[in-house]
């Protein structure tokens, strides 16, 4: 089958649409993850997704709801435990890896049901169904809407919590907004790139957009654009080289990051 035929054939088109839906939600949220040094926080929440998958299959609820529920619990646990005796990276290290381990163990108990662990760890974007597409775009739109609604309050509390209080913004409430957005993105992304690579889709496009931008808004928009382009490029490359699609997308994003940093350095030297 040729590439053109494959695009016309539904599954590649669905994969591209799913990837772009994720890209436009993950990239602006990823900017906040980068600005607020929450990379490991994103990891912990994403790793909890596997536990969410296991629980969803056990109790026969939708994977999206199960993953979002567990991710939400994880995000709130991390943000309330912060600053209570342990350093933040220690708490996150404990939670991220235990969530993953408990998830894998829980999945092993599901002997009655065949569970394709690889699909949840690394994504299975070519298997996206029209129904999944609705969930991905619905969740993505929700995240983008949430970020646009809270944008200036989120930015102010990212700049300085006391400044936020003085201007009538409660930084704790804004942290909750980010927690909810993160949980939705994790639930949306598990089908596309899998639990292990969700953080990549959050952080790498944002980091790639940084050297080329001068305001937070352009950084978020460019991150979304670079992520979408990488999704299309990654699906194409996976098709040509017959490689796993989720990881290939992340490889392309990483390439875009390297290119952007180089271009940024050249521009700065002028």
């Amino acid at each position: 089958m040729s590439w053109a035929n494959a695009i016309l054939d539904d599954f590649v088109l669905r994969a591209i649409l799913a990837g772009i839906g994720l890209a436009f939600a993950a990239a602006p949220l990823g900017c906040f993850v980068v600005w607020r040094h929450m990379a490991y926080f994103g990891d912990a929440t994403a790793h909890a997704a596997i536990l969410g998958v296991a629980l969803s299959l056990t109790f026969s609820v939708s994977i999206f709801m199960g993953v979002m529920g567990v991710a939400l619990v994880m995000a709130f646990t991390v943000s309330t435990l912060g600053g209570r005796g342990f350093a933040m990276d220690t708490i996150l290290g404990v939670l991220a890896h235990s969530a993953l381990a408990f998830g894998l163990v829980a999945a092993s108990f599901l002997s009655g049901i065949r569970i394709d662990l690889m699909a949840y760890l690394f994504g299975d974007i070519l298997a996206v169904m029209p129904r999944d597409l609705g969930v991905i775009w619905g969740g993505g739109a929700l995240v983008v809407g949430l970020l646009i609604w809270r944008w200036s309050a989120l930015l102010t509390s990212t700049l300085n919590p006391d400044l936020a209080y003085a201007e009538g913004v409660d930084p704790r409430r804004e942290q909750m907004v980010l927690n909810v957005a993160l949980a939705i993105v994790v639930a949306v992304a598990i089908k596309v790139v899998g639990a292990l690579l969700i953080t990549a889709m959050l952080i790498i496009p944002a980091a790639a957009a940084r050297p080329l931008t001068r305001t937070p808004e352009t950084m978020a928009l460019l991150a979304g654009g670079l992520a979408s382009a990488s999704v299309v490029g990654g699906i194409r490359a996976a098709w040509v080289f017959d490689t796993p699609t989720g990881p290939t997308i992340v490889c392309v994003v990483a390439g875009v990051f390297a290119l952007s940093v180089t271009v940024g350095q050249v521009l700065a030297r002028r």
Partner: protein, 242 residues
């Protein structure tokens, strides 16, 4: 008219008391400086006022609709966050180009609109933050050690700017500092804080108060150290937190 009143405000975390029965008020257009050693609760007092922490005891009452312009101690902007000066100034409320330009002019950084925040010097950043606070047409300007990291001429220039701002806007100014000499000349009233209010009054009054000498008289080795003092209560420098 009174901008705000602290009525026997206390704050403690667990067993350690950071502030004990602090009572004072500020009138419109007044310049009040709070001085005190590290850990005396100066910054905490400002954080109580802007509402980022709640007092354990006592009450803080503000004039209805009080607009506070806050200039933080240090805006540690992450280098991964791109931000121009004009974007920072219009972040919370939309402001016309003309108003932004005027605020920057008043704060002593005219024409800085297109600069990146990360490329500013410490003094320039503080002035930009001052311009941002002025855009909200505050009744009260709150500055938390706004001159930290500036050299002596820089500090003096910054305080002249503050005085000019007060003359222009007529807003009250509450600041925290340990740059004692420069600050004091600009203030109507000085409050000497060390977990509680040790003494307050005009700069001349405070500088000669035994409580002030007890806190700042030692260690300067110069003119201030000449005074030998007696006081009826201990000032424990280790007590409290920032």
């Amino acid at each position: 008219m009174t901008l705000f009143t602290f009525g026997s405000v206390g704050l403690s975390f667990g067993d350690s008391a950071i502030l004990k029965s602090v009572s004072f008020e500020m009138g419109a257009g007044e310049i009040v400086t709070i001085v005190g050693p590290n850990g005396s609760g100066k910054s905490t007092l400002l954080r109580l006022l802007i509402g980022s922490i709640a007092p354990s005891t006592g009450r803080i009452t503000c004039q209805a609709g009080l607009r506070i312009g806050y200039v933080p101690q240090k805006l540690a902007l992450d280098p991964t966050l791109p931000m121009t000066v004009d974007r920072l100034l219009s972040l919370r409320r939309r402001a016309s180009r003309a108003r932004v330009a005027q605020a920057l002019q008043e704060a002593g950084v005219p024409g800085f609109e297109r600069r990146q925040i990360s490329a500013l010097s410490g003094g320039q950043l503080q002035r930009v933050m001052l311009a941002r606070a002025l855009l909200g047409e505050p009744d009260l300007l709150v500055l938390d050690e706004a001159t930290q990291g500036l050299d002596q001429p820089g500090v003096a220039a910054f305080y002249r700017q503050i005085e000019a701002v007060r003359q222009e806007h007529g807003c009250g100014i509450l600041m925290v500092s340990h740059d004692l000499h420069v600050v004091m000349s600009a203030s109507d009233r000085v409050i000497c804080l060390n977990g509680h209010i040790c003494c307050q009054g005009t700069p001349q009054h405070v500088v000669s108060a035994p409580e002030y000498r007890a806190l700042f008289g030692e260690g300067t080795g110069g003119a201030l150290a000449l005074y030998s003092h007696h006081h009826d209560h201990r000032h424990d420098h280790k007590e409290g937190a920032q």
